[in-house]
């Protein structure tokens, strides 16, 4: 582990950085909730849940806006360097990742709404499983972000392969459904979009994991080294 990050001589600077961190965590928590609700809307065919996700997307955007403003104010007033600079710059990028992830959740909710107008398919298994892995990854990176723990971020980062594998197998599964019964094509295409959104959601989680590594070490995750171990 790298050295612990000490406190600044000017304590109000620490407070500002901590506030920024808390804002990111709040935004992350909201995204986590958005995804959970969107997937519930899909699995339970719950229209109210879908509407709830779509309506709440604005809150995520507002948080991103607030984080941007705060980070820019810190850049202007503190002119941070080294680890401080990396923290503030990455807060800007992480909030951008989270905003995209919330968009994916809201896309899933929109597909869930569209699926209500079509006959139900067999009980869904792979999609909830994908969503579960995404949720676990997000929870891990948020914890890793809160504690500046690159090892934990790496654990999340390594799990992205699972999401990709599930996506590939779901793709095949849906294709066979379509071949069996072409009337299900519309529903299957909706589900494919859902899966694609989950796959992208997973990618952004790994982006966040990479940014945590950068905050702590100031360099990129070395894929070759990591994938060998």
């Amino acid at each position: 582990m790298p050295d612990l990050i000490r406190r600044h001589t000017v304590h109000s600077f620490d407070e500002e950085l901590e506030h920024l961190t808390r804002q990111i965590l709040r935004m992350g928590g909201l995204v986590e909730q958005q995804l959970a609700t969107a997937v519930r809307a899909l699995v339970d065919r719950d229209e109210a849940a879908a509407e709830e996700v779509i309506a709440r997307d604005d809150q995520v955007d507002e948080l991103e806006e607030a984080i941007d403003q705060e980070a820019i104010r810190i850049l202007a007033t503190r002119q941070p360097l080294a680890v401080d600079l990396r923290m503030v710059a990455m807060a800007l990028k992480i909030s951008n990742d989270l905003e995209r992830m919330a968009d994916y959740a809201s896309n899933i909710a929109k597909r869930a709404r569209s699926l209500l107008e079509q006959p139900a398919l067999k009980p869904l298994v792979t999609i909830p499983r994908m969503a579960e892995v995404c949720q676990e990854m997000l929870r891990l990176v948020l914890e890793a972000y809160a504690t500046r723990d690159p090892e934990k971020a790496l654990v999340a980062w390594k799990r992205d392969g699972e999401v990709d594998q599930l996506y590939v197998s779901l793709f095949r599964e849906l294709l066979t459904y379509i071949l069996e019964d072409p009337r299900k094509t519309g529903a299957c295409i909706d589900l494919l979009f859902v899966a694609k959104n989950l796959e992208r959601f997973g990618d952004h989680t790994t982006n966040i994991a990479e940014k945590i590594h950068y905050i702590v070490y100031g360099n990129r995750i070395n894929r070759m080294v990591v994938e060998e171990s």
Binding site: D3, H8, V10, L81, A82, R86, G218
Partner: protein, 286 residues
């Protein structure tokens, strides 16, 4: 294959890189570290019994700006003063190690080296403005007169050019023959910068040159440093971390007379290798 490019019978064909690979390797080759203007080698320095510098080794890259940073009293000014043998003026001061001035490889601090050699080739701006008790004009012309310049037209031209470069000309052009002491602190500092620039030294040492300047004059001096870097080598001491990050290509961090970290400025300010450097530049010191 045409007759021209065919290898003579019996010879191995010439090895040729494909264009992208040749371009990539060429780029690596050109990225060679720049030439050195000076080398500090195992430099220690004592004020009488008090050791102020401990075994410092670092390169001074040619046509680059090297920033010296570190807490008050860590030895930045002491190190700069070694370069032009200022310390010789006081008995009891002692050096160990070498400061080699390139390309000739002269050891600046060797007792046998004439102190006038570094003083003529190296310009210095001190932390506290120290104009001579003479006119503004004579302050700037002084370095040229020492070097034997007599021609009035050349002197006038060089004085104006130096004062312009130091962002002082507009404020003093109508009173060039007034005493330098009539200037404000910030103006005196810029006058000293003009004085150091006039003889166009190959190595310029700046000890907190903008600490007394307003943001406009500071911006002019920083722009000047960028411009001078095309032809000169500069070492600058500054307490302003953002300034060091802006104007320099290499940064040295000193602490209690020791060199803690030296590296490309970009790395020192984004991912320093030593936690002591990080604590200092981010305001977590002591």
């Amino acid at each position: 294959m045409s007759a021209e490019t065919a290898a003579p019978a019996g010879d191995l064909p010439a090895i040729r890189l494909d264009a992208p690979r040749a371009a990539a390797l060429g780029a690596i080759a050109r990225k060679e570290a720049p030439a050195l203007k000076a080398r500090v080698e195992n430099l220690s320095f004592w004020y009488g019994d008090k050791q102020a510098l401990f075994d410092i080794s670092m390169p001074i890259h040619e046509r680059r700006v090297t920033a010296l940073i570190g807490p008050s009293g860590c030895g930045k000014s002491t190190l700069l003063r070694c370069f032009n043998r200022m310390h010789d003026l006081y008995p009891g001061n002692r050096y160990a190690g070498r400061i080699v001035l390139e390309p000739e490889g002269i050891d600046i601090i060797a007792p046998k080296t004439d102190p006038m050699i570094p003083r003529l080739r190296i310009g210095m701006v001190f932390q506290k403005p120290n104009p001579f008790p003479k006119s503004i004009y004579e302050n700037v012309a002084a370095g040229l007169r020492i070097r034997g310049v007599r021609n009035r037209a050349i002197l006038d031209e060089q004085v104006e050019k130096s004062l312009r470069r130091a962002a002082l000309w507009e404020e003093v052009k109508d009173r060039l023959h007034a005493s330098a002491y009539d200037l404000s602190g910030g103006q005196q500092q810029r006058l000293c910068i003009a004085r150091a620039l006039a003889p166009e030294p190959e190595l310029l040492l700046l000890d907190e040159p903008t600490s007394a300047l307003d943001p406009i004059a500071t911006a002019h001096i920083e722009a000047l440093i960028d411009e001078l870097r095309e032809n000169y080598t500069i070492v600058i001491v500054t307490h302003n971390m953002q300034q060091a990050a802006r104007v320099s290509q290499y940064t040295a961090f000193l602490h209690l007379g020791k060199l803690i970290e030296f590296g490309p400025t970009e790395e020192v300010f984004t991912r320093p290798r030593k936690s002591m450097t990080q604590d200092y530049i981010t305001g977590r010191f002591g």
